[in-house]
Every structure is written in structure tokens, then in C-alpha cells.
Symmetry: C2
Subunit: 287 residues, 2 copies
């Protein structure tokens, strides 16, 4: 049989022109009011991913505030979002020389067309490019095998049940040491680590870091719990513009108790910078 002609890879998407950008773009209806059709492409087990939603809110706030980059953003998740029409309402809380603070709400519509609040956010924005270059980080990147020795959803023998369109949007390669759950043998340790990128090749930027901290499988899976682990609250610190290339995301849970757990995420870029840190509080169903 003749060899199949090799198909050239599609060009890597660029920041500003990619799936992530198209699916997080908000249209300003009037000052402080932005419309969006939430994409069905970022769902995990039928729920719209919380990090994708945070990026949508982050984009609206970047338009509202005089500073471009989220430095610290705290989100309280109120009701479950659905793909479809939504509105983001923003408010400037305070503007300063190097930092500004804003508030934002993501709302959708009930059957009568009334607005129902999904998420409320407080965030302080600055300019990452204006920060001094001083780096005294004592944290170290996670010990992880090279990407070629890690595994993504397409390598998995047991697909996660339910619609998980987000896996088609991501380049996700999990550390085998945190993959036991997918093979019926969870480690019992609250850890999840992966190489992370966007499937269309778009490099990371401060807004996509908001997605990255919430885009891995739950640490609860490795602890041996199944089912949904909804986020109650998520705070992300964005500390540096990420370098081009894949990210490493390392998540740890140390305090599973009383039906709640925390997930601490660190995001490291290809230059070994700790570009983002986050902590979320999530609910678990025990037993």
C-alpha cells in the first residue's frame, strides 16, 4: 500500500487567536456590562469548568480596570453555570497607581429571563511587566517525569464518564504517580500533577493561568473518592507572565475533613518560574 502522505500539523494558535481566546471573549454592551455565550467546549463531566469561567470574568475585569493583569483574584461559586448566554457585570472598587481592585459577577438567565448569579469575584489587578525582576523564590518545581513519560486522557484505557469536552481543548499529560485512580488503584495521596497546555498550541498568558489552576482531575480521585468535587471558592495569585511552552501544574490536598478539602495548585513555566499559586475550597461526598 502506498504510504499515506504526511499531513502537516496545523499552525500553533497564537495568544489572541485561539480556542481559549474565542471562547472567553466578552462583548461590552455598555460600561461594566459584558455579554458572552458560554462555550460547551470547556465542560468536565457536564459541568462548565470553573477555571474557564474565572478566565471569562478575568477578561471582563481586564477591560474594566486600568491595569491589565490579575494579581490576585478570589471567586465564590454560587450556582452551577450552563453553556449558553451569560452576562458579566463589573464594578471598579478602587484605582491606584500600581494596583486597582474590581468586582465582577457572572449571571445567567432562568426560564423567566431573570438574572441568576453564578459566580461573584473580587480581584486586584496590576501590570506584571512593570514588576522588578527580583526573584527570591525558595519553592522548587515539582519533581515530574518528562512529558513523554506522562499520560493524557487519550492514553487512558478507562475514559472518564460523562461529557468532558474540555479534554479536547487541553494538552494534559499526567504524572503516572498521580494516575492510579484511572486504573482503579488510587494512591491514597492527595496529589495531582500534569504537564499542561492548550490543545491548539496557544502559549499560556496570565488569563489562561486562571484556567490552568482548575483544569486537572480532582485530587479526590487519588484519595479514592469518586463523584463531583464542586468548588466553593477559588483564589489565584498570578505572579509572573508565563514563558512560552508547556506548564507544569502540581496540586496538593492536605486537609480533607468535615466534607470539605482544599486544593493548593502551583503553576511552573518552562523557565522554572512559579508563575501562579492558587487555593480552592471544595466539597466532597464522603464514603
Amino acid at each position: 500500500m502506498p504510504e499515506a502522505a504526511s499531513v502537516p500539523s496545523p499552525p500553533r494558535a497564537a495568544i489572541g487567536d485561539s480556542e481559549f481566546d474565542r471562547d472567553t471573549v466578552v462583548t461590552r454592551r455598555e460600561p461594566g456590562v459584558y455579554d458572552i455565550d458560554l462555550s460547551a467546549g470547556w465542560t468536565i463531566i457536564n459541568a462548565v469548568n470553573g477555571g474557564y469561567l474565572l478566565a471569562v470574568l478575568g477578561r471582563a475585569l481586564a477591560d474594566t480596570l486600568p491595569h491589565p493583569d490579575p494579581f490576585t483574584i478570589s471567586a465564590h461559586y454560587l450556582t452551577a453555570s450552563q453553556p449558553g448566554p451569560a452576562v458579566v457585570r463589573t464594578e471598579t472598587v478602587r484605582t491606584g497607581r500600581t494596583l486597582s481592585t474590581g468586582q465582577a459577577s457572572l449571571l445567567q438567565y432562568d426560564d423567566e429571563g431573570n438574572e441568576v448569579e453564578r459566580i461573584r469575584v473580587l480581584a486586584s489587578y496590576g501590570d506584571l511587566a512593570a514588576l522588578p525582576d527580583d526573584v527570591r523564590t525558595t519553592a522548587a518545581p515539582p519533581a515530574m517525569p518528562p512529558m513523554e513519560q506522562c499520560f493524557g486522557p487519550d492514553d487512558s484505557p478507562a475514559p472518564v464518564p460523562g461529557s468532558s469536552a474540555i479534554t479536547d481543548r487541553l494538552m494534559l499529560k499526567l504524572d503516572p504517580a498521580t494516575l492510579g485512580w484511572a486504573l482503579g488503584a488510587p494512591s491514597g495521596k492527595g496529589e495531582m500533577r500534569a504537564w499542561f497546555g492548550l490543545a491548539d498550541g496557544r502559549d499560556a498568558d496570565p488569563l489562561s493561568l486562571l484556567l490552568a489552576v482548575d483544569a486537572l482531575p480532582p485530587t479526590a480521585f487519588e484519595i479514592g473518592l469518586s463523584g463531583w468535587v464542586p468548588t466553593v471558592e477559588l483564589t489565584v495569585h498570578v505572579r509572573h507572565r508565563p514563558a512560552p511552552g508547556p506548564l507544569r501544574v502540581s496540586i496538593t490536598t492536605r486537609n480533607l475533613a468535615g466534607g470539605f478539602l482544599e486544593e493548593d495548585a502551583e503553576v511552573w513555566d518552562s523557565a522554572d518560574r512559579l508563575v501562579a499559586q492558587s487555593r480552592q475550597l471544595a466539597r466532597v461526598r464522603l464514603g
Copy 2:
């Protein structure tokens, strides 16, 4: 000389009747509006302590919301508070069966009597007493010497300059391993650990945990930096009602870069429970 008659110790203050309670009480003026005179007793180097302010906001939200305890509370610090008159304005964002979410602002008055916002907060409240007893915490209490081998401000040969009335309100005994800064020999490690309580003996409760996470000297001192380290944002998770007796607070900084640092605090009670976790983003002056 005759022996001095021993003076009996004053009775330990009770939760609800203590310096902390009196200085955080808010008076409801009307639904969602609370007045308070911010005490000068909780200042550190002339700044009103951020944890004390968070406890004030937390008390107002506990009155507004149908659930009694802060589960996760995120505060963005906008302008510096001063002792004196202030108002807290609260809003119910959503009420649910086990969790409710609220928003609150602390405001003071400028020379013309206009309100100036000091802090804005989002918080989700629940009922700690209603949580199941399941504890699978893998974190361990910090290794610290017993309290008798730790040191408080009165033991220090070099008092911290500036008015620090808060030190009279607290029982603070620092781990000698994190005290080098007070002797001109900072360790270079971003760590601060202390036994913590209230000077009048009041036991801890969920609201005083909001104070505890922000009441130690800055880790920046041990890194060798001096000067003010103002909090930009602080998120606290309260995970369990603390047992009576002293707390252990352990704070770590691992990402000092670009003029900012994070402080991660863990609060352990006398029953070795991890009762609170927090992370704040703070600004540093480098060099």
C-alpha cells in the same frame, strides 16, 4: 522584708466577654449597616491589624447571613484603616441550605464626611457544628518547642519600633528558630511560628481565627527585609471550631519575587486539628 501577698490572677475572659469581643462588636444601625469605633488597641507599627479588621467584617456578616461561621473569606485591602469611627455595609449574595455567601465593605470617613472604602470582602458561611466528624487530614502540626521555650515581645531585648498596642492584647510566644530577626540575625528563611492566644485568656473561636492568621510578625523579617509589608489580599478557610487552649500558628513564604510575597498560615489547636488555613499576598520593599 515581708513577702508580697500574692495577687490572684484575673479570671480568664470568656468568649463573648473579652477585649477581642468588645473591640469587634458592631452595632446594627439598620439591616446591612453596622457601626463600630475601630479600636486603637490592635495596631502594629501604627497600622490597624488586618486580621482584627477581618474579624470585624466577619462579625457583621455573621449577623447578616443565616449561617453562623465563616468557611472561606476573601478580603481585598484598599486603603489603610485608622482607629475611630467606621461603618460596615453587608449584602446577602446567596443563601443555601448549608452555605450562604455574602459581601461586606468596611468604610471610614474623610475630612468632608464622605465614606472611603477600606476593605471589601466576599465570604461563604456555614455551620461548623453541622459538619461530619470525618478527618483525613494528612498535614501534621508544626514542629515547635513547648511554649515555655518560646519567647514573646516582653522577652525581647529590642522592642519593635513604633506603637504596637496589639502586643498587649496577645499572648504570643515565638519559636526561637524564627526569632533571629529580633536579635539582628535573621535566618534568611521565610518562616514564622508562634504559640498564640489572647492576653486576657479568652479561648479561640472561628472569628478570632481570622485575627490569628495575621497577628504574627511578617516572615519578611526573617528573610532580612525590614519595613511595612502591607497585605493586598487575604483568604482564610476556617475548617473547625478550635478547641480551648493555645493555638500554634505556622507561617511560610516560598515565593518572594517582583516586590510581592505570599504568606501561607496554618493554625493548629490544642487537639492537633488544622482549624484554619490562609494565604495572603503582600507587598514588600526590596533591598
